[in-house]
């Protein structure tokens, strides 16, 4: 069998079918991810509508500059990811590896900045729980906001960590020449996942950081 044959799993008839199955599978997985984050978004929406002032106050605790930088970092990483898939389609193996490593570095930079932000929250005693030391009005409701801040950005960061690991595997496979213009679906579905995680942040950034910006 040819090189393409070895990439074909026994349950499929041809690579096209396998590619269709892989992409459809990832899209469905992303639907489950939307519902998974959706529970948090729903809770956020409920409490923001009940406690608008507290959520505005909570939002002022977020560091907009760091959040904005992170948004730019993550959008750039989506660009390098898209270029990596494109490079695989046209069979430029070295470019695939370089672009994947660039994506991983940008993802890691995002996580680093996030870690700095968490560190600031910790230093200011803004971790929800018994040590929460916010003194302004609506302290309890602000704590709810911070709770959602940590749950949502934490879940997102967990997805980033998994994504960076996944791209690491892809980079190794790419370096070993496993992807060809006829068979690159693992890379494409990894890309779909990465873009999804990016997109979640595009929603998180305004919802958490920019609640009170226009005043």
């Amino acid at each position: 069998m040819s090189e393409a044959g070895s990439a074909l799993a026994t349950q499929f008839d041809d690579l096209d079918q396998q590619h269709d199955a892989a992409t459809l599978g990832m899209w469905i997985f992303l639907v489950t991810e939307i519902m998974f984050f959706g529970g948090l978004f729903a809770g956020y929406a409920v409490y923001r509508s009940i406690y608008p002032q507290a959520f505005a106050a909570g939002s002022r605790l977020c560091e907009i500059a760091l959040g904005a930088i992170n948004t730019a970092v993550l959008i750039s990483s989506s660009l390098t990811m898209a270029l990596a898939v494109r490079a695989a389609q046209v069979g430029r193996r070295r470019a695939v590896v370089v672009l994947l490593v660039a994506t991983m570095l940008l993802g890691t930079a995002f996580l680093g900045i996030k870690f700095v932000e968490y560190g600031h929250k910790y230093a200011e005693h803004l971790i929800p729980g018994s040590g929460f030391a916010y003194t302004g009005p609506y302290a309890q409701q602000v704590q709810l906001f911070v709770c959602f801040y940590f749950a949502m950005t934490g879940l997102h960061a967990l997805h980033m960590v998994i994504g960076v690991g996944l791209l690491g595997v892809m980079a190794v496979l790419a370096a070993r020449g496993r992807f060809t213009p006829a068979h690159y679906s693992p890379l494409e579905v990894a890309g779909l996942y990465w873009h999804f995680v990016d997109l979640v942040w595009i929603f998180l950034f305004p919802l958490l950081y920019l609640v009170d910006l226009h005043k």
């Binding site: 026994t10 499929f12 199955a21 459809l24 959706g38 529970g39 929800p128 704590q143 709810l144 749950a151």
Partner: protein, 535 residues
């Protein structure tokens, strides 16, 4: 006999050949073994509940232990038996076979989902043996948070993990049905079991993530002491109920839809007739899945939900009755002028139709705002959902296990014993749960270990029925195991049934079909002449 024919069962004998298998048929059997164990654990807990309720003051246990008994019974039966039962066992076995494929789209993911199930159910067992959970299966806050004194966290973690097993199974089914159908197998030639499996999978992928995140939030609340669901800290316990039922009501349809699919296979086969109104039966499955996501608020009629929301949820709940009734009418119409054979799977299917109809109609009682205020949290509700989940889902499951047992094992079970089991289960079931409708209507609340003496007669009837039911469930366990060794060989198609799974030997070879089959006719192309030959 000479060298036995190669099948998926003798493709390898070591433990490793089972535990590392990616064959969907072997994974189905792994699920069958695991959920059968859990079913009997959950059943034993139900037995203890019923024994305790023999006397008004409670025969065996006090309130605390009783809380744990009914909670563990509910959790094990719902999350670790009913939800995986038909999809994970029969669905895994049949989805590739019914579409003429060699396996599911993602066989390793399929094995992973079984391991997730094992890890999840082990955590549940750990939580059970270390003392159990006393919150009720619904984990309502603040029982599960502020006031909990039981092992909520391992149980919640177990359900969280098992949830991902459901998600992966659903994902696998949807992708497989979309991309791997045999040539000629168009959507409207699909067996109806696949339509209902598809609808079930939609619920798995849309609903399960929500219960997962909800339980994760409960975990956060317990570990860090934050107050997302705690009104003392600004949170709202009713939000938990909304999020919980957003999944857990559709989960009821996860239990019943696959059973409906099984019945839609059995009835045409043993009536020797095309299904009446194929597309209506098919689309009613999808309609149930979709409407099922819009009715969760009917669990919150007395939770302080706004009366307008209650009215909308009540109306939407009534709507679910339409696709359900379409199915019942179409099955009945299929029987009309059919050449009916009263074999075991058909007896179970008949049991399903009758019991599901009672369960469904009493569902309309509790979907009515005013009536629900009277019967909410009484035995009326308990009886209603057992008619759906046990009378419906378990009857369908057992019917399906009997119907496809010759395909799975290659052997026939003893028909007389099997028919007897169907009758015993039907009688035992009704004796157990019909008195509970009366109890509930008279005002007996659920989840109490003791009760006023005037309820004793009905409780004793119910306990007597549950004993019969227990024997009924043990019978198939015995004779199906017996048939593995002593049952006569089944041959590829013992029922003379249509469908691709019957065109390959029993038990099937690992790759299912020697050549990819080509489909040239609609599903259920039974004809009158064949009916006469078969009789």
């Amino acid at each position: 006999m000479s060298e036995p024919r190669e099948s998926y069962l003798n493709a390898g004998y070591g433990l490793k050949s089972w535990l590392l298998t990616t064959d969907h048929k072997r994974i189905a059997l792994l699920y069958l073994i695991s959920i059968t164990l859990l079913f009997f654990v959950g059943g034993a807990l139900a037995g203890l509940i019923r024994v305790n309720l023999l006397t008004p003051q409670g025969l065996l246990v006090g309130a605390e232990t009783y809380n744990r008994l009914f909670t563990m019974h509910g959790l094990i039966m719902i999350f670790f038996f009913l939800i995986p039962s038909i999809p994970a066992v029969l669905g895994n076995f049949l989805v590739p076979m019914m579409i003429g494929a060699r396996d599911l789209a993602f066989p390793r993911l399929n094995l992973l989902s079984w391991y997730l199930f094992v890890v999840g159910s082990s955590l549940a067992i750990v939580s059970a043996v270390t003392g159990g959970v006393d919150t009720g299966w619904t984990f309502y806050t603040p029982y599960s948070t502020t006031y909990s004194n039981s092992h909520v966290l391992p149980m919640a973690a177990g359900i969280f993990i098992t949830g991902f097993s459901s998600i992966l199974t659903g994902l696998n089914f949807i992708v497989t049905i979309h991309t791997m159908r045999a040539p000629g197998l168009t959507w409207f030639r699909l067996p109806l079991f696949l339509w209902s499996t598809y609808a079930t999978s939609i619920i798995f992928i849309l609903g399960t993530p929500v219960i997962a995140i909800t339980l994760a939030l409960v975990g956060l609340e317990r570990i860090f002491g934050v107050g997302i669901f705690n009104p003392g800290l600004g949170g709202d316990p009713v939000l938990f109920q909304h999020l919980f039922w957003f999944y857990s009501h559709p989960a009821v349809y996860v239990m019943i839809l696959p059973a409906m699919g099984v019945v839609s296979e059995i009835i045409p086969c043993f009536a020797r007739k095309r299904i009446f109104g194929y597309s209506f039966v098919a689309f009613s499955s999808v309609a149930i899945a979709v409407l099922g996501f819009l009715v969760w608020g009917h669990h919150l009629f007395v939770s302080g939900q706004s009366i307008y929301a209650g009215m909308v949820f009540s109306f939407l709940s009534f709507l679910v009755a339409i696709p359900s009734a379409i199915k019942v009418f179409n099955w009945t119409a299929t029987l009309y002028k059919g050449s009916i054979a009263f074999q075991t799977p058909m007896l179970y299917a008949f049991g399903f139709i009758g019991l599901f109809t009672i369960g469904g109609l009493t569902g309309l009682f509790v979907a009515s705002l005013a009536v629900d205020v009277h019967v909410h949290d009484t035995y009326f509700v308990v009886a209603h959902f057992h008619y759906i989940m046990v009378g419906g889902a378990v009857m369908g499951y057992l019917g399906g296990i009997h119907y496809w047992w010759p395909k799975i094992s290659g052997r026939l079970y003893p028909e007389a014993w099997a028919r007897l089991s169907a009758v015993v289960i039907f009688l035992g079931f009704n004796l157990t749960f019909f008195p509970q409708f009366l109890l509930g209507y008279l005002g007996m609340p659920r989840r109490y270990h003791a009760y006023p003496p005037e309820f004793q007669v009905l409780h004793v009837m119910s306990t007597a029925g549950s004993t019969i039911l227990g024997f009924g469930y043990l019978m198939p366990l015995v004779y199906l195991l017996w048939s593995l060794k002593y049952g006569p060989l089944a041959g590829s198609n013992p029922w003379g049934a249509k469908g691709l799974e019957w065109q390959t030997p029993s038990p099937p070879p690992t790759e299912n079909f020697e050549h990819t089959p080509v489909v040239t006719e609609e599903a259920y192309a039974y004809s009158g002449e064949e009916a006469e030959q078969h009789v």
